[in-house]
Amino acid sequence: MAPPLLEVDDLTVRFRTDAGWMTAVDRVSLAVGEGEALGIVGESGSGKSVTALSILRLHAAATTRMPTGKITYGGRDLLTLPTREMRQIRGGEIAMIFQDPMSSLNPVLTIADQIGESLRLHQGVDQATARKRAIELLELVRIPDAARRVDEYPHRLSGGMRQRVMIAIAIACRPKLLIADEPTTALDVTIQAQILDLLRDLQRELGMSVILITHDMGVIAEFARRVMVMYAGRVVEVAPVGQMFRSPVHPYTEGLLSAIPKLDVDVRRLPTIAGSIPDPTAVIPGCRYSPRCPLVQEACRRDSPALLPAGPEREARCPPRVAMITPSKETVA
């Protein structure tokens, strides 16, 4: 098998808060293949956005300790890359779009300027060419009347249009990897579907790999091939998307799935996961999900569980459950 496009190994990110140091991302490892769509799902505070920001080293420098671990891209470790080379990767090889399109565009620069900046920076084209390419990109992200829109300021565009502009900026230099951090969360439901369709078509046309971060299981089901579930800074389950929906291994994944409303079942009240996500500065011995887990056992509260293989392409951080689905060697023998 070809080596993955991007490989994250044991990434740990720590923040300084008023209550002391907190670990936002705890030894997270992931890999994205060429042209693959990986979904990262989890509640707010699960560390999914911080993981994504750390890949491009865009985390807040003042309050974050330098992330540890290894992020391998093209044979180089992005965490130790000199700033100048890192800037060539940002926007050129790996691009990113963010949650809130209303605030992610600069209000005093025209669309042409903001898209063109990427092109001038990474491909060294002149202003006129950059403007022409910006119009083409706006057409590619299906903005009507692109030639007129290109000279406008962001406040003249709707939220959905602005997110399309953000996507145009991101794909301007044909990146190999696009990181989309909750790209549809701030948008209306109808617009969400359009943006997802657009992202999926672009991924196919341009052959990009995509890491899509969301808390919406529906978005994951539509978009990703493989899913990584995060809880309280740790990866709790990795699975191909169909398998995860059919047979989740980790009780947390199960909880998330049962909280999705189903059209064919009439329920008065949606099931929820009891309790709430732990205070990030709190020290929880053993499994971090154990205080909320309906299947908790004595050992769960004591020993920190490892991420165990649970079938082909599958891993889960729940020893009791993994033991149930993969019979141990003794029982087979």
Binding site: L56, L58, A62, R87, Q88, I89, R90, G91, G92, A95, M96, F98, D100, S103, S104, L105, N106, P107, V108, L109, E117, S118, L121, H122, Y153, H155, M166, I169
Partner: protein, 315 residues
Amino acid sequence: MLRGILMRLSQAVPVLLIFSVMVFMLMHLLPGDPALAIAGPDATPEAVQAIRQQLGLDRPLPIQLLEWFAHIAVGNFGESITLKQSVVSAVVERLPVTLSLSLVSLIVTLPIGIGLGVVAAYWRNSWIDAFVMVLALLGVSLPGFWVGILSVLYFSVQLGWFPPSGYVPLTEGGFWPWFASLIQPAIVLALFQIGFLARITRSAMLDVLDQDFIRTARAKGVDEWTTIAKHAFRNTLIPVVTVLGITLSLLVGGSVVIEQVFALPGIGRLIVQGILNRDYPLVQGTMLLFGFAFVLINILVDIIYTFVDPRVRYG
């Protein structure tokens, strides 16, 4: 654009009306009889009556107010009692001094004030930030007249770099003597403005640096310098331009003190003279002109605003 400017000008009319009524009332809110006060304790009753007639104080109040408006409307701001000339001509004579002082002071203030604010914000919470903020605090808290006197003692008397006082018009001595007579008072006058502007700029810049679009710029691979200069700076200017109107007004106000310290024959000194000599028409007239200038400055700032922030369009 033109419609917007006209609209702003029409909004200024009620402001100026209210302001001019307040200035008019100055004469009538003073304790006792202004005519008596002007004439002095030794004046004969006839002399007092003459002044009263000259000022129109013997007529009913509404008539006086209407007359006041009628005079302002045709640009008649009254006659100075002590200078024996019209207030307008007295002001026009001294206007170049105050304008020169304000202009040189503004040219010193803008780059230094805004520059210090940007530097402090970029290296926030470092010793550079702390140093700049202490300087800014000194600038806004040290009284101008005191710094002015110390500065004259050191730079003019001890070192002899600048003339200690007086003003050389541009038309008489050329650029350098004019500049040398102004640079010291202009810097002293600028200290407060610099401190004020540095603090405003710092907090505006900190706000902008936390915005999502700065992260977008970095995600594009934009270098730090361009992030600050292109993406952050213009957004920082939006709140800074807003307070610029206030700063300019403070500049004119500050010149009242500084002109006194450096013996510059400007409008600030004219007001002080008028107050000391109980020359009420002179005080009223200059106040009125200052008021008009403030309103005009703020309209100008509003117009500049439309160039800085594309979201703002008047009309």
